[in-house]
Structures are given as structure tokens and as C-alpha cells.
């Protein structure tokens, strides 16, 4: 049994990771880094889920964390494929540049 006093620290870690990830998504222009930051945010959520599951004595937190991992993996597959294709077109890898969909 984990020390209950650890719970705020685990949630704090999750919040910290999430903030770092969100800040990265907002600030960075390289799509690969943006992806990594999104992974960071998802993992922050995983930490929070597992922590809650542990402290509420429930398996659902861990089950849900696995789901998130699966979704994240799928997302990475699609995302990386997109990025590779963009790179193949000879475009610079800059999210600010990729705004044709606006029209």
C-alpha cells in the first residue's frame, strides 16, 4: 500500500508534465516536437489515472491508462505517417507553414 501522503505529489507530477506538454504544443513549431509534447500530455493523464486508481482502490484507472496508451500509439502511427509524407513533398517541417486547410 502506497503512502497516501504521496497522492498530492503524484497529482502534482501529472500536472507538471501536462503543463510542460501543453506549453510545448503551444510554443514549438516542429511537428515532431509537438507530437512528443502531446505524448507528454497523454502520459500526464496516465499518471493521474493510475494514481487515482491506486488511491481509490480501483482497477479502472489502470485499465483506462492502457486504453490511452493504445490510442496514443495509434495516433503516433497516423501522425508520423503524415509528417513523413509532408517531408517527402519537400516542405519545411513547420506547423505555422501548414495552414492551407484554412481556406
Amino acid at each position: 500500500m502506497l503512502n497516501p501522503n504521496l497522492f498530492p505529489f503524484l497529482l502534482g507530477l501529472a500536472a507538471f508534465l501536462f503543463t510542460v506538454g501543453a506549453a510545448g504544443v503551444l510554443i514549438r513549431r516542429n511537428p515532431i516536437v509537438v507530437f512528443m509534447c502531446i505524448e507528454l500530455m497523454l502520459n500526464a493523464a496516465n499518471v493521474a489515472l493510475v494514481a487515482y486508481g491506486r488511491f481509490l482502490n480501483s482497477e479502472e484507472g489502470q485499465i483506462f491508462a492502457f486504453m490511452v496508451i493504445v490510442v496514443a500509439a495509434a495516433e503516433v502511427v497516423v501522425g508520423l505517417a503524415l509528417i513523413t509524407q509532408i517531408f517527402r513533398l519537400g516542405r519545411e517541417l513547420d506547423v505555422d507553414d501548414l495552414s492551407e486547410m484554412k481556406e
Binding site: L26, V95, D96, S99, M101, K102, E103
Partner: protein, 649 residues
């Protein structure tokens, strides 16, 4: 007559024309002219045969049982406290039997005539479909024993009239005339519907026999019954082309001539007379309304007679004479001489249909020429038409022993004995004046068209009309002479077959008066009336046959405005144009210029502009930069969480 027989007869008499109309309308264009001609005439002839059975049944019924009302089916049942039940109710009595006979009898002859007249017209199927439909509507109107059914028939005849006036729909004048007729009729319809509302409100029933049995709801001479009767009379005036709703009738002559003969002379325009006669129970309670009806009728008779004197279109002269004669009928039902009014309706239907169809023969022979100044001398070339037209003119002019003389003297003579005071006598003297006018305009037309020298070379090439057009004219010509002989003599205590037949319908109203013993007074009236007609005819012969003095010379002795007034039809069209049409158009123009762009488009466009501006502002958010979206997303997610966690709790 039992209920079963009566229902069968009603269904049959209505079914034949309706069936004819449907067959002609749907199959006529496919199966061609022969089919249409046969179906169109046979359907009306069948209706005529049924009408004869109706007449025989009504005559054969024991006294006091001559009127029967049948309900074909219940239509609307409101139940509950109102107990208002509306059915397809029809009445067979002396009045409706007479109307049936005239409508189907004269109608059949006119249908036969149409076969010849419309020989070269391509729209023959449409024409006969409309004509049959008119007969159906008119029969429904005169058979109706229920206000709602009556109004349906009333509106349907206006519709058929509209369709037939505008039959040649590629002529702008015909379309305008049709529209004018319909709009004027609708004014009357509205008055009639309001009257119906008032009646239902006070008697709680729509069935005519029940209404007439519940007249205790109306205090005699009160404002309510007077109002109802005035509204009914307005309806009648619109339908019967009486002042001030008369301007549509002359324009209606744009339709084919058989239409003018059937609808605008013989049947539909007399529906107003029928309406007042049918509602005589109510009118007897409202002497003021009766007086108004009598005065309007007589006034219209004088006015239309004066106008007819100077018109130059052959059909318009007859149209104005129709208006004048219907004025006399309206006068008759106004003073309570219902039988006399209906008698004049019958003889008028015959001789006026005859005049129109004979005029149609002339127009046809002269290749659509309607200007009487270009005719003249037709008697040698169109013998039968000439004879028939002469008989019709003598009947119209009230020549001694012709049918028009009997009916006209009958209704005028009634005025001399119809009430207290000087008022009936004043109207009688005016009526004698109308007799002079009638003789004048009837024979002005006859002499100008058939006598004298041909005015154009075309007249020499004229041929007599074909059989289909001639036989109906000749039959009506014979009828116009003899029809009144066995029926009625315009003196008290003589032959009164016709009024004895009709009077049970009007039992309790004043029309018994004509059997009053005051034979001296009636004889004086008869002599004055007959003399007046003869004076009119004689004057016409001097002016337009012998030309001694010439009509132009006589005319020059009048102040110039009198002939101008007559020629321009008392300027009614112009007055209505200035007083109604132009102000309405001005209002419409102003609305289009001011109200539509500023008021209507203002707020409709305003809503659009507002949304457009809003969307322009909103669109600037869409930058295309993922980081912008992500920032907004984050900010709103944070706001949402804050609201949820801290405020919503």
C-alpha cells in the same frame, strides 16, 4: 311526389350537366368535335326531360304539398349545443320547377345553337365543358334548400361566367372583362355571406325552410332584418347587374354570343331576382329594404334604357336592354309582385336569348362585325333571322299580345294596386316611361340593323345562318309570340294560370293582391302602359325607319350633355376608375416605393446584415495556425474547468 322520387329527380337533373361537363373536359379534346357536340347537347336535353318530370310532379301534387325538400346527405354536423346541421338539401317547388324549365329548356336551345356558332373554334371541348358546368351550377343555385349550398351554386355560376367571358383568353379585352365581372360578383358574394352569417346567428340554422319558419327571431321592420335584406339585395344587384354594380354586364359581351344569350341574358343575371323571390319571407318583414330594391330596380331600368339608346355595338345594346328589363323584374320583386317578376323572367329569358342568338347570326354572317352603323338592310338576305329578331323586338318592346307585353304589363300593372299612397303611382309613371324607352331602343336596333339601306358592301354578300343556328332561333321566335297566351292576362280575374301555379310559394305575401277586384284601376294602368310602348315603337319607326324627322336633328335639339351622358354610359366606368381604381393603384405604388424597400426590406435585410457582420468578425478567428487553435482550446478548457470546479458547485 314522395321523397324517393324527388331525390331521384334532383340527383338526375344535377348529374347530367355535371357528367357532360366532365366528359367534355376530360375526353372532349381526345375524341373530337362530334363527341363534344353530342355530349354537350344531349346532357342538357336529358336535364330538360328530367325538369319536365319535375314540373309534372309539382303540378300533379295535391294542393299544399307542392313543395318538397330532400336531403341527399348530411354534410356538416356540429352537434353539441349549437345543433347546427348542414346537408345537401334541395327543394322542389313551383319556383324551382319554373327555374329548372327555363334554365334547361332555353339552355338546351342555346347549346344547339352553340354547335353552329362555335363550328370553327378549336376550343370547342373547353367551351361545352364550361357551358355544361354553368348549367349544373345554376341548377344547384335554384334547387338549393340550404344557405351554404345556395352560396356554393351562387359562387360557381360566377366562376362559370368568368371562365366563359374570358373564353377567348388571347384577347386582352376579354380577360379584363372576365376579371371585372368576377370582381364585381365577389362584392355581391361578400354581402351575401355576411347576410348568411347574420341569419345563422339569429335563427341558428342554415336550412331555408327552417329560416323561413323562424322569422320570429327578427322584429318586423327592425334594423337587423332590414340590414340582412339590404345585404341580400346587394348580392342580388351584383349578380343581376343593377346600379351601382352594373358595369360588368356590357363588358361581359366580350364572351362568345351563345354565352351572352345563356348567362348574361336568360339565366345567371336573373339569379338576383330569384334570390329576392326565394327570400320573400324576409323581405316582407323589411319594407324599407323592399322600397330600396324597387327604387334601384326602376332606376336601373331607366338608366340602362337611356344608355341603350345611343350604343353602337349590337351586343351592347341588347346587354343594356337586358339590364333594363332585369331592373323591371327587380322592381317587381321589390314591390311584392313576385309572380309577375318571375313571369317577366320567363318571357324575358325566351325573347332575350332569341335576340342575342339572332344578333349572333348577324355577327357571324358579317364576319364578326358588331357595329350597327355598318349594317342595315339585312331583312332581304336573312329572312328567318329577320323574322325571329322582329318577333323578339316586338316582345321586348311590349307590343300588344306579344309575350313581353303580358309580363311587362303584369308587373307594371301590379304597381298600381300594390300599396298605399302616391309612391307606387310615381313608380308606375316611371315604368310607363321605361316602356317608351324600351320601344325606342328595341326598334332603333331593329330598324338600323334590318331595315333601310345596306351601309357597307359586305351586307350584299351576307348568307342566312346554318340549320343549327337557325332552328333554335325560330323555335324561340315562335315561343316569344305565343308563350304567354295560355298563361296570364294582365288584368284581375282573368287568365292567371301562371300566378296560380306560383302563388302557393309566395303564400302569405302581398302577391295575392293582383286578384283584388279593382279592375278599373288596373285597366287604366294597362291602357297607359300599352300606349306608352306603342308610342316608343312608333317614335322609333319615325326616327330610324322613315327618318322624319331624322334622329340627328332631334338629337341636336337636346343640350349636348344629354346624348354625351348616354353615349358614355353615365361615365360610370370613368367614375369608378377615378374613385376606386386609381386611388388603389396609387396606394399600391406608394407601398411599393416606400413601404416595401424601407419597412419590409429594412428589417428582413437588417437581420441578414447583422448575421453577416457577426460572421465576418467570427471568421477572423480561423487563422489556419494550429498553435492558435491549440491556445484557444487550452484557454477555454481552463475556463471550463474553473467554472465547473469552483463556480458551479
Amino acid at each position: 311526389m314522395n321523397v324517393g322520387t324527388a331525390s331521384t329527380l334532383v340527383v338526375l337533373v344535377l348529374l347530367f350537366p355535371l357528367l357532360g361537363s366532365a366528359l367534355n373536359g376530360f375526353l372532349g379534346p381526345i375524341l373530337g368535335r362530334r363527341f363534344v357536340n353530342i355530349v354537350g347537347t344531349v346532357s342538357i336535353f336529358s336535364a330538360f326531360v328530367v325538369a319536365c318530370f319535375v314540373l309534372a310532379n309539382v303540378i300533379g301534387a295535391p294542393a299544399g304539398h307542392a313543395s318538397i325538400t330532400v336531403r341527399l346527405w348530411q354534410w356538416i354536423n356540429l352537434g353539441g349545443g349549437t345543433n347546427l346541421s348542414v346537408g345537401m338539401d334541395f327543394t322542389l317547388d313551383a319556383l324551382s320547377a319554373l327555374m329548372l324549365m327555363v334554365i334547361t329548356g332555353v339552355g338546351f336551345l342555346i347549346h344547339v345553337y352553340s354547335v353552329g356558332y362555335m363550328e370553327h373554334d378549336t376550343g370547342i371541348a373547353r367551351f361545352f365543358s364550361y357551358m355544361n358546368f354553368f348549367i349544373f351550377s345554376m341548377l344547384m343555385l335554384v334547387l338549393a334548400a340550404d344557405l351554404l349550398t345556395l352560396i356554393i351554386g351562387w359562387a360557381l355560376v360566377a366562376l362559370s361566367s368568368y371562365l366563359l367571358i374570358g373564353f377567348w383568353h388571347d384577347r386582352p379585352t376579354a380577360v379584363a372583362a372576365a376579371r371585372k365581372a368576377f370582381i364585381t360578383q365577389v362584392i355581391g358574394d361578400v354581402a351575401l355571406v355576411i347576410a348568411a352569417f347574420l341569419i345563422v346567428l339569429n335563427t341558428h340554422t342554415l336550412s331555408l325552410p327552417n329560416i323561413f319558419a323562424r322569422t320570429q327571431a327578427f322584429p318586423a321592420g327592425g334594423a337587423l332584418i332590414t340590414g340582412i335584406c339590404v345585404l341580400l339585395a346587394i348580392g342580388a344587384f351584383a349578380k343581376s347587374a343593377q346600379f351601382p354594380l352594373h358595369t360588368w354586364l356590357p363588358d361581359a359581351m366580350e364572351g362568345p354570343t351563345p354565352v351572352s344569350a345563356l348567362i348574361h341574358a336568360a339565366t345567371m343575371v336573373t339569379a338576383g331576382v330569384y334570390l329576392i323571390a326565394r327570400f320573400h319571407v324576409l323581405f316582407n318583414l323589411a319594407p324599407v329594404a323592399e322600397g330600396m330594391v324597387a327604387c334601384v330596380g326602376m332606376g336601373t331600368a331607366v338608366m340602362a334604357g337611356i344608355i341603350a339608346l345611343s350604343q353602337i355595338d349590337i351586343k351592347r345594346v341588347i346587354a343594356y336592354s337586358t339590364m333594363s328589363q332585369i331592373g323591371l323584374m327587380i322592381y317587381a320583386v321589390g314591390i311584392g309582385a313576385y309572380s309577375a317578376g318571375m313571369f317577366h323572367f320567363m318571357t324575358h329569358a325566351i325573347f332575350k336569348a332569341l335576340l342575342f342568338m339572332a344578333a349572333g347570326n348577324v355577327i357571324h354572317a358579317l364576319h364578326d362585325e358588331q357595329d350597327i352603323r355598318l349594317m342595315g338592310g339585312l331583312h332581304a338576305r336573312m329572312k328567318w333571322t329577320h323574322l325571329a329578331f322582329g318577333a323578339g323586338s316586338l316582345a321586348l318592346g311590349g307590343f300588344f299580345l306579344f309575350s313581353g307585353w303580358f309580363s311587362k304589363e303584369d308587373l307594371l300593372g301590379f304597381g298600381t294596386v300594390s300599396g298605399p299612397g302616391m309612391f307606387p303611382w310615381v313608380l308606375y309613371i316611371v315604368g310607363a316611361g321605361v316602356n317608351i324607352l324600351t320601344g325606342l331602343y328595341a326598334f332603333r336596333l331593329y330598324f338600323t340593323v334590318f331595315q333601310g339601306e345596306p351601309q357597307t358592301a359586305r351586307v350584299f354578300a351576307v348568307k342566312e345562318a346554318g340549320k343549327a343556328m337557325l332552328i333554335p332561333v325560330v323555335i324561340l321566335g315562335v315561343l316569344a309570340v305565343v308563350v304567354a297566351w295560355p298563361l296570364e292576362f294582365p288584368l284581375p280575374n282573368t287568365i292567371h294560370v301562371f300566378s296560380d301555379f306560383l302563388n302557393p310559394v309566395f303564400a302569405g305575401s302581398q302577391s295575392q293582391l293582383f286578384h283584388s277586384p279593382d279592375i278599373g284601376l288596373a285597366t287604366i294602368g294597362l291602357i297607359i302602359g300599352t300606349a306608352a310602348s306603342l308610342v316608343g315603337i312608333g317614335l322609333a319607326a319615325r326616327l330610324w325607319y322613315e327618318h322624319k324627322p331624322d334622329a340627328q336633328v332631334v338629337l341636336a335639339q337636346f343640350p349636348r350633355w344629354i346624348p354625351l351622358l348616354s353615349y358614355n354610359k353615365f361615365y360610370f366606368d370613368e367614375i369608378y376608375d377615378r374613385a376606386l381604381v386609381r386611388p388603389m393603384k396609387a396606394v399600391a405604388r406608394t407601398t411599393r416605393r416606400v413601404v416595401e424597400p424601407d419597412v419590409m426590406d429594412g428589417w428582413v435585410g437588417g437581420v441578414g446584415d447583422l448575421l453577416k457582420g457577426f460572421s465576418v468578425d467570427l471568421r477572423s478567428i480561423q487563422t489556419g495556425l494550429i498553435r492558435d487553435y491549440a491556445s484557444l482550446f487550452t484557454v477555454f478548457a481552463v475556463i471550463l474547468v474553473v467554472v465547473w470546479v469552483f463556480i458551479a458547485k
